[in-house]
């Protein structure tokens, strides 16, 4: 029926009703990325020394999530030209023809504005400004500039994904502290090995559209070395929350055990370079890196919730602690 209509109506008439469903517009927000943002921002929020009212906390998280979604939407608007060529992204709403670029741009801009205003009114303007900066950084600095101009795109651009715990903390306190910079550092160091593992497998896609991802520019072997080096730095860095006292024994042990497993994945990626097995170990690294970050923040969250509810918090042994040194 729709095809019959499309054949008989004029272009103007066709443009009157967008074919995009509510689900398509929701897909523009990159829901999976948004869920990670909600999760990490929640941890940042709960680390604050002052308790947050649950309703205000929920509203702030919602604003942060919508801000993240808006930046994802604007990223899809900007990248729609290359998304339609890459197999991984060809089914997104814009390249699939279900949402127009103009609709995505308007949707992203309106949501950006609303999310920043709502966060400002509900919490404070420092957090709102930080959210606005994060959207700007992801859309303008990463998507418009870095992504297509340097193989370090994902390294620098990764900062955008690392800001949410800081925004969450700032929404409660109106300031930042060292703990939030440590959480930022964990996500910042995690992003390159996580993303390059995927880029190793999808490098043909990136090469076809001229995006200078590291495997395309420096080659797969140099990328494997970089993945290993970043993982070697990340694993001990991720133990810092316990050493500094805002993570407990459970967090420290989780960071050490899952860190060892992540390192094993990175060593396998580094050593297995040929054939289907190379792709398989790279995808294993990609998948496990998601679980790794999830577990780190989940344990941190559980420990903090136990602490806030007066349940026993088993601290990292004092003799191994860096508390008071930083």
């Amino acid at each position: 029926m729709m095809n019959d209509q499309a054949q008989t109506s004029t272009p103007l008439q066709q443009a009157v009703i967008s074919p995009g469903t509510a689900r398509d517009f929701f897909a523009l927000l990159k829901p999976r990325v948004m869920s990670l943002v909600i999760f990490t921002a929640l941890v940042g929020m709960l680390l604050a020394p002052v308790p947050v009212h649950p309703v205000i906390g929920f509203a702030a998280l919602l604003a942060i999530a919508v801000g993240a979604g808006a930046s994802g939407c604007l990223n899809m608007w900007w990248d729609s030209d290359i998304d339609q060529i890459m197999t991984r992204t060809a089914r997104r709403p814009i390249p699939a023809g279900r949402v127009t670029r103009e609709e995505a741009l308007s949707f992203g801009m309106v949501l950006s504005f609303i999310s920043v205003m709502v966060l400002g009114v509900f919490t404070n303007w420092f957090a709102a400004g930080f959210l606005a900066f994060t959207i700007f950084f992801y859309v303008v600095v990463y998507s418009m500039y870095l992504k297509r101009s340097t193989p370090q795109n994902i390294v620098i651009g990764g900062a955008a994904g690392a800001f949410p715990p800081m925004i969450g903390y700032a929404a409660v306190t109106g300031e930042l502290n060292l703990d939030t910079f440590i959480l930022f550092g964990i996500i910042f160091l995690w992003t390159p090995p996580h993303f390059w593992a995927l880029a190793l497998v999808k490098s043909d896609d990136y090469a076809r559209v001229g995006v200078p991802m590291l495997p395309v520019v420096a080659g797969p072997d140099a990328t494997r070395l970089q993945i290993l080096l970043y993982t070697v730095i990340l694993v001990p860095f991720a133990v810092l929350p316990s050493l500094l006292g805002f993570g407990g024994l459970a967090y420290g042990l989780t960071a050490l055990i899952t860190g060892a497993l992540l390192l094993a994945c990175a060593v396998r990626v580094y050593s297995m370079r040929e054939g289907a097995l190379a792709n398989r170990v790279a995808m294993q690294m990609f998948g496990f890196s998601i679980l790794y970050l999830f577990l780190l923040f989940a344990v941190l969250l559980v420990e903090r919730l136990m602490q806030l509810n007066g349940l026993p918090f088993i601290a990292w042994p004092d003799m191994l602690s860096l508390k008071g040194m930083l």
Partner: protein
């Protein structure tokens, strides 16, 4: 004065109307949720002062 030329009214398919309807419904729910959220946050922020107003 010349009579303005009337353009034919656009004709939409059932599918198009259904999509528009579902989008409008989703938008209505989102707006209703936002109104509720703003109301609850206002109550929470003002606390007992919500009833403290000059008569």
């Amino acid at each position: 004065m010349d009579k303005p030329e009337l353009k034919p009214a656009p004709v939409f398919s059932e599918q198009e109307l259904k999509i528009r309807q579902s989008r409008a419904t989703a938008m209505a729910w989102v707006l209703a949720a936002l109104v509720l959220l703003f109301f609850i946050v206002t109550i929470v922020k003002l606390g007992p002062n919500v009833l403290n107003r000059p008569l």
